[in-house]
Amino acid sequence: MQTANANKSELVIETKGLSRVYKTYKKKEGILESIKGFWDRQYEEKVALAPTDLQIAGGQIVGLVGANGAGKTTLLKMLSGLIHPSSGTAQVLGYTPWERKHDYLRQMSILLGQKNQLWWDISPMDSYLLLADIYDIDKATAIKRIHHLAEILKAEHVLQTQLRRLSLGERMKMEIIGALLHEPKVLFLDEPTIGLDIVAQTSIRQFLAEYAKEKKPTIILTSHYMDDIAKLSDRLLLISKGKMVYDGTVKDFTKKSRTYQKISFSLSEPLDKDLHIASQNLTKGTQEISIQISNEELQIALTQITQISGVQNLKIEEADFEDSIHAFLEAQ
């Protein structure tokens, strides 16, 4: 695994052997199995995060990328103190997160893109004033910050509307203001743009970039949209099946990804048997094909492709950031 360890003296986040195992109840289908489950339950253990060592320096924006269930959210939940680890230690700003000391909680914030954290039945403004009391911010300062953040997010018109009546995009903007109101030193953003349209995604991305530039918090960001990661992060962590498989700068990863080419083509008839194109396997029945191969394999791949009958719309492109990440994770 490549690493980009931070200078020890300015570490804000440090984990040693941090892991989490979930125990889940496994139930077979059917009424009989449900009845049997009253006295005989089968449990299985799933490693959500394998022992992880991590060091993050102050002011860094770290993009945490991985497939669903890779362990990204589990890591954020432990670092924010939401859940306890199965083993290992973590220090964030010098605190053990799951001890949930108020002094720690006042300095960090977590935004869970798939979960409301403001109060559903009241307006965002009422929620913010409640948060101001919780974080001990005086009312005038809080109101000034709320209007400043809402102005940048172009969301001032919904501050007084009950949260439940807002659209997903508006709600996410309100959640972001709620997460930043106390100006946290450490910010965990879990899918902040999930489910949003392209306009809302761009506006939130721009806002976060400006905020990070101005306040310089330490940020760990997870997102399924690679644009979020590429444009906001200066360090990339790739996680696969609970293990860190890449830790380096986004720049290095992008440089490395340029050694890959994306070849796509379609066939007039689906493949009648399994085929190998360079190191890639094509399965029987495939008609639309998109593969990623290294520059060294390009010549041999093209020779093999031209031998297939009915090849149409052949395209060769340099792999982009998202393709490279997918290829990297699939190879793990």
């Binding site: 939401l82 306890h84 909680l105 109060w119 039945d121 948060l131 009950q162 879990d190």
Partner: protein, 267 residues
């Protein structure tokens, strides 16, 4: 200072949230206890007429009617199933996450909201039995109101602790609403909502009256309507204090155990 500031904020949140839905508030604070009082009063009235007696257990019909009327409204204050359901729901759905990552405790925030909700509904709903008592001249001592309501308020801390203990089971089990239903059915008898506890035979009567649950309804309502002495009421403060201590110890243990196995549901 921070403690009062943040708890005042949650108290205010409950007031705001409840006033947001006007019809629900009206039904909850006025209509629901009026229906409960109507049923209880009719039952006791019918019982006296069917039996053809002037007294049951040493008390006259008017005493039972006053007890039934006030029980419906005091119970309105001293029940907590709604907030218990909310705490359970918060843990089951993962809504608790938004509290766990902020400098506020889950226990405190729900207690402050619970008290805020009680204040906003109690002030309105108690005006009804006061008016009915005055119109029909039912046995009632107005000077005893502060002490009786003091006991009910104190009992709310005990009640919240019991609800908190029940809710922590949601960290380990997926559906536990039936726990709340079973608990409330038990409390229905133990607190004296179903009938005055002095109708129970000894030694059951002394045992149940000395449990903290009687401070929720029987002791304050009995004290207001002339069935319970000042000494017995004061014993209610004592038994509630013991109950608070016991359940506080249990709840600390359950909370720590629950959090260590919590998986941060829904996020």
């Amino acid at each position: 200072m921070r403690f009062w500031k943040r708890n005042k904020a949650f108290f205010k949140l409950a007031v705001l949230s409840n006033l947001e839905y006007r019809l629900n508030y009206f039904i909850d604070a006025i209509l629901q206890p009026m229906i409960a009082a109507g049923i209880e009063v009719t039952l006791w009235y019918s019982l006296f007429h069917t039996l053809g007696k002037t007294e049951i257990g040493g008390y006259a019909q008017n005493s039972y009617l006053a007890y039934a009327l006030w029980t419906a409204f005091v119970t309105r204050i001293s029940i907590n199933w709604m907030y218990e359901f909310r705490m359970i729901e918060d843990i089951e759905s993962g809504t608790i996450n938004s509290l766990l990552v902020r400098p506020i405790s889950f226990f405190e925030s729900h207690l402050s909201q619970f008290l805020g909700y009680k204040i906003v509904t109690t002030l309105i709903s108690l005006s009804i039995p006061l008016t009915v008592t005055w119109i029909f001249g039912l046995p009632f001592d107005y000077s005893k109101i502060p002490l009786a309501l003091g006991l009910v308020t104190y009992y709310l801390f005990f009640l919240h602790l019991t609800s908190f203990c029940v809710a922590t089971f949601a960290f380990h089990l997926n559906k536990i609403h039936s726990f709340t239903v079973a608990k409330n059915l038990t409390l229905w008898v133990l607190c004296g909502e179903l009938f005055p506890l002095d109708l129970l035979p000894e030694p059951l009567k002394s045992i149940i009256i000395n449990l903290p649950f009687s401070s929720g309804v029987y002791l304050p309502v009995g004290y207001l309507t002339g069935r319970v002495s000042h000494e017995t009421l004061m014993q209610g403060f004592l038994s509630t204090t013991v109950g608070i201590f016991i359940f506080a110890v249990i709840s600390i243990g359950l909370w720590k155990k629950g959090l260590s196995s919590y998986s941060g549901t829904g996020a």
